[in-house]
Symmetry: C2
Amino acid sequence: MVIDRSSPVPLYHQLAEQLTAAIESGRLGPGDPFENELALADRLDLSRPTVRRAIADLVARGLLVRRRGVGTRVASQVIHRRDELTSLYDDMVRRGQRPLTVLRRFEREIVDPRAAECLGLPEATPLVFLERLRFAGETPTALMHNWLPPQFADLTTEEVTSGSLYAALRARGSRPVIAHQTIGARRPTAAERKLLALVAGDPLLTMSRRAYDGDGGAVEFGDHCYRCDQYAFDVTVHER
Amino acid sequence: MVIDRSSPVPLYHQLAEQLTAAIESGRLGPGDPFENELALADRLDLSRPTVRRAIADLVARGLLVRRRGVGTRVASQVIHRRDELTSLYDDMVRRGQRPLTVLRRFEREIVDPRAAECLGLPEATPLVFLERLRFAGETPTALMHNWLPPQFADLTTEEVTSGSLYAALRARGSRPVIAHQTIGARRPTAAERKLLALVAGDPLLTMSRRAYDGDGGAVEFGDHCYRCDQYAFDVTVHER
DNA sequence: GTGATTCATATGTCCTGACATTATTTGACA
DNA sequence: TGTCAAATAATGTCAGGACATATGAATCAC
């Protein structure tokens, strides 16, 4: 356990990383008592609040459990807190498979009152619109519609197809930091059935999303539908 | 802005609640500059870290935005951070509608290798099993299966039907604090179609869940299916 | 032996103080 | 008037200290 005081990385962050590494290395096992904050602060020559901050970060991530009067322990089952949705698509990427995304439509000035409303803009605002179809091998897996505010009208086809849409927004100083997503299911339309190669009775898994930047300004509205044999969403939920 | 020092509620928590109220009352509008932490601490006769803690809580909830060297502002669009799934069912409750949950089956010793595995238990472990059907008025809306570890075999029918299942677990000292949920869609079985009064082609929205207590021990496995015209899930996602 | 009380341990809350870093404004100078 | 440096304003990090509260173990009284 080494703290480098000349590093620009905050002390509490260095400590949190090293505590995390100790837990994930297996050196500390599930349920093991964890060194208390006073001893740790003494041993590492750090102030107690600094140590508390590091430990609090690990608690927030589900690696440690604290109880007043008792002490701190390694969580019995190491759970990594994830504030994000993952899907079978992400699993594919993780397994090294290369899903392909085809841009079917890209408009820089399209009027859509519903999407404008979702973006908090006047109905007649010209929006940027994308329609993409995603494949896993030969199989179409998702049909995705996205609408962006007019400040992104300078997006290039290259940006939209080669990398992540959010990376392109971030390159323009708009950093999506929070998104509200609604997940549901419905019957496909005939067009969707054809595009996604569905047979009669196959349902769609749907997800609509409104993304906001750090100031709370809406930066994206998305309306996606997925083959349910290719997609499911994993959500981690915390009770306060 | 009043801080009651004789209250058992921590000072930072009182302040956070009042700052929240000020924002939600409309007294402070989106984008408004927010009083800086030094002035606030001075005015309220609180220490700066205490004020920082309160402000940090509001930042974490998306109500305020901070920038080093600039100051603190009310988020342009007030977003409430919610680390929880909500559904149309919750909307019904909020609107004062009274959904009804019918207990169809309650077993205190049932062997289910799949559920046991999901609970991290040996296959032959006798589990507690619940099957419930939920109604909104006359309309069946959800079919819910839940499996619990054997320590909950003393659950009463009363507990299971009158209040929330999690409240019953908490009363036994097992506090579910994190759950991993998987949301998907599929075709209903014939039995599900009948129970949920579905017509041909109607899809199911599905959600399976594994809930863990503060020590990481599994406390519940659930497998639910919903009518998609009655349910959708809202998820808030944060990018780090 | 059992239940109540006390004590030791550990986290939770709060304070005062100081310095570092970033962003914006102000003032000086060409 | 424009540019650059210094000053000001605000948040971020860190420290040392003190007291409060909850928990579990040990001790004491019956």
